[in-house]
């Protein structure tokens, strides 16, 4: 039984750029970075939703919109049916508590002048999670939960290694007993062996605390490992969203296909000497007309350059935004040449 916890409806976010007086007088549209361009998705209670894409695809902006660190320019985000942009006072504080974010860079997201005890204590007292006398015991509990020793409480963030510091960040987020964790590139800054430890910790905590996790990352292997469902983003739009197994075994969007082909698999027998995708990400200031991926897509035809494809159903919980509705379909996976000619 899947219960919708967060509903994202047609959310967009722009970051305006400076405009010259001359341009303004001549009535040209104000330039802006179009970071998120109309995203709709649902997040179910207890699941892990992976959001994956290359740098500049808007995945971090979307994550920040989810916790209301950015206000959306268009659309709305519903948390248990309530529009988060309209929350005020105690309801907003309650939302802040229930939806927590963990940041990529533990070096800059923890206050360097506070000991861990104060970092965690602050979170506990601000949200009145525990009576003052119970706070020290709770801090030790939290440290134990994330696999740190009790003496960590009296150390400063700089005294920890990267992996341990990320654990402190997780402990701080968990201090307020949230229901949703939004993890933005949680392990990207860590060494491979330490990455695995933090990934294991996250999987374990999710089971024990029944958390809903939004896992934003650029590493496909990590996202595949952690997520129940995966959304692939390109230039601020979702191009494909599906259960992990379906997305990785039979992608239905050419961008997903290229992304999977480009990602180096840790299996020396699966080598390929063909380049998966040519070209580079177009500028998010002047978005391409039609399908955003049309400038790099090997399968693009006339319609792709004029009309933006919408997310359509391709299977159970599987949606893709591509005019080639049969792309990657089972009957056709050996012969993509037919589709190149289009309808």
């Amino acid at each position: 039984m899947q219960v919708t916890l967060i509903q994202v409806e047609d959310v967009s976010k722009r970051f305006p750029l400076p405009q010259s007086v001359l341009n303004r007088l001549s009535g040209k549209p104000a330039p802006a970075v179009h970071a998120v361009n109309g995203i709709s998705l649902t997040i179910h209670r207890g699941e892990t939703l992976g959001i994956v894409g290359e740098s500049g695809c808007g995945k971090s902006t979307l994550a920040r919109c989810l916790v209301r660190l950015h206000e959306c320019d268009g659309g709305r985000i519903l948390f248990e049916g309530a529009d988060i942009a309209k929350l005020k006072g105690t309801t907003r504080r309650a939302f802040n508590r229930r939806v927590q974010m963990i940041f990529q860079d533990p070096y800059s997201s923890l206050n360097p002048r506070m000991k861990v005890r104060r970092i965690l204590g602050e979170a506990l007292s601000v949200h009145q999670m525990r009576p003052t006398k119970d706070i020290p015991a709770r801090i030790l509990e939290l440290l134990d939960l994330v696999g740190l020793s009790p003496d960590a409480a009296d150390r400063y963030p700089h005294e920890f290694s990267g992996g341990q510091r990320q654990r402190v960040g997780i402990a701080r987020a968990l201090a307020v007993e949230p229901e949703v964790l939004v993890a933005d590139e949680l392990v990207s800054a860590l060494d491979v062996s330490v990455q695995a430890q933090v990934v294991n910790l996250l999987l374990d905590l999710q089971d024990r605390l029944n958390l809903t996790v939004v896992f934003v990352a650029h590493d496909l292997r990590l996202v595949r490992h952690i997520s129940h469902r995966v959304a692939v983003m390109y230039l601020g739009k979702i191009v494909e969203i599906a259960p992990t197994a379906a997305l990785f075994s039979a992608p239905r969007h050419p961008y997903t296909r290229a992304l999977l082909d480009a990602a180096p698999e840790i299996d020396p027998t699966k080598r390929s000497r063909t380049v998966a995708m040519h070209g580079e990400l177009p500028s998010p200031i002047n978005l391409p007309k039609g399908c955003l991926f049309s400038t790099r897509c090997p399968h693009a035809f006339d319609r792709c350059f004029t009309e933006l494809p919408q997310l359509d159903d391709r299977g159970p919980l599987h949606q893709s935004a591509c005019h080639l509705v049969d792309f990657g379909a089972k009957s056709d996976h050996t012969n993509s040449n037919i589709m190149e000619e289009g309808p």
């Binding site: 430890q197 999987l203 490992h225 197994a245 180096p264 698999e265 299996d267 063909t274």
Partner: protein, 330 residues
């Protein structure tokens, strides 16, 4: 493999910093064959980048390098500066992780490519300009004539890396040292650059030493691999051998730390603890405090890198136990 295939041979390379207090590279020996891609893999602080820079002698004066690096029969360590300059950037080229800092921001790309051509070739001005255009074509930068006049900040990350490769290739090197060339790039751009390096290897018949922390990159590009930990090589072999049958617990742990298909949402085989800092490298085998196979001897004696087959070496007392436990990637 016959001896004439040998391009570069590194023997007992040791690099220390701070008057010998910190040992970044410890008694490292390996060889590079003609036309092969050798992967040097390890985590941060394992000494893989310092190894490359020691070969090129591109380290600050506070460092001390000992050992031998044989290049076409001559020891680079014994060469005078002027002799070394012919090899460095000429016969052996290097590309770096961060093209933004490796390129000069105030010189046009044309100037930076020609700089290298001026030093390492006898081409005249027209010849250099033509060669610069050819190089831009070779590394896949469109509109070469126009883009040569541009400055590094006008290029994207992937294109900047191509510019750096063009500069490195200007002198027709026989060996390319690549220090994490794709770490700062997106996965589709990484795929383009790695394929470019492999294509160039085939076309120009050079050898490549590729330093990386990503075992996926090793699996996709390298012929042989040397795994480094705390300044030492702990295991070498062909990529197929090492991935299918790791003989060192660290290699095995590293392989298990990377998520792979078919194990979704299961616990990864992680390695406890973190890589040691240079000032606190453990006695005996440097990996023993994190090793699940360690025995009493591991904390006392240091295992030497021993041959266990043709081109296959490992430094572990308990390698039979490690090998018997199988590869985590099946």
């Amino acid at each position: 493999m016959n001896v004439s295939d040998l391009v570069l041979e590194v023997r007992n390379l040791t690099t220390t910093f701070g008057g010998g207090r910190l040992t970044a590279v410890n008694d490292v020996s390996f060889s590079v064959m003609a036309g092969e891609v050798l992967g040097l893999v390890g985590e941060s602080g394992s000494g893989k980048s310092v190894t490359l820079r020691s070969i090129m002698q591109l380290l600050p004066a506070s460092s001390a390098i000992s050992g031998q690096v044989f290049w076409q029969g001559d020891d680079l360590m014994e060469m005078s500066n002027s002799e070394l300059r012919v090899v460095r950037g000429g016969q052996i080229s290097m590309i770096f992780q961060e093209p933004t800092t490796a390129l000069n921001p105030v010189l046009s790309v044309a100037t930076q490519i020609e700089e290298n051509l001026k030093v390492h070739t006898r081409l005249d001005r027209a010849g250099r300009a033509a060669r610069a255009r050819d190089l831009m074509d070779l590394v896949g930068i469109p509109d070469a004539k126009l883009r040569l006049k541009e400055y590094p900040h006008q290029f994207s990350g992937g294109m900047r890396q191509r510019v750096m490769i063009a500069i490195a290739l200007a002198s027709d090197p026989a060996l390319l040292l690549a220090d994490e060339p794709t770490t700062a790039l997106d996965v589709t751009i990484q795929d383009q650059i790695l394929n470019l390096i492999l294509d160039l290897r085939d076309e120009l018949s050079m050898s490549v030493v590729l330093v990386t922390h990503d075992l996926g990159v090793v699996a996709a590009t390298c012929d042989r691999v040397a795994v480094m930990y705390a300044g030492r090589i702990v295991e070498t072999g062909t990529v197929q051998q090492v991935f299918a049958e790791p003989n060192h617990a660290y290699t095995r742990g590293l392989l298990g730390s990377v998520p792979h298909a078919g194990t979704e949402r299961t616990m990864l085989l992680s390695i406890e603890g973190k890589p040691p800092g240079l000032s606190e490298i453990p006695l005996g085998c440097a990996f023993n405090p994190r090793c699940e196979f360690s025995t009493a001897r591991c904390g006392v004696d240091r295992p030497e890198l021993e041959d266990i087959g043709p081109g296959r070496q490992v430094a572990c007392f308990n390698r039979d136990a490690v090998a018997a436990s199988g590869s985590p990637i099946g």
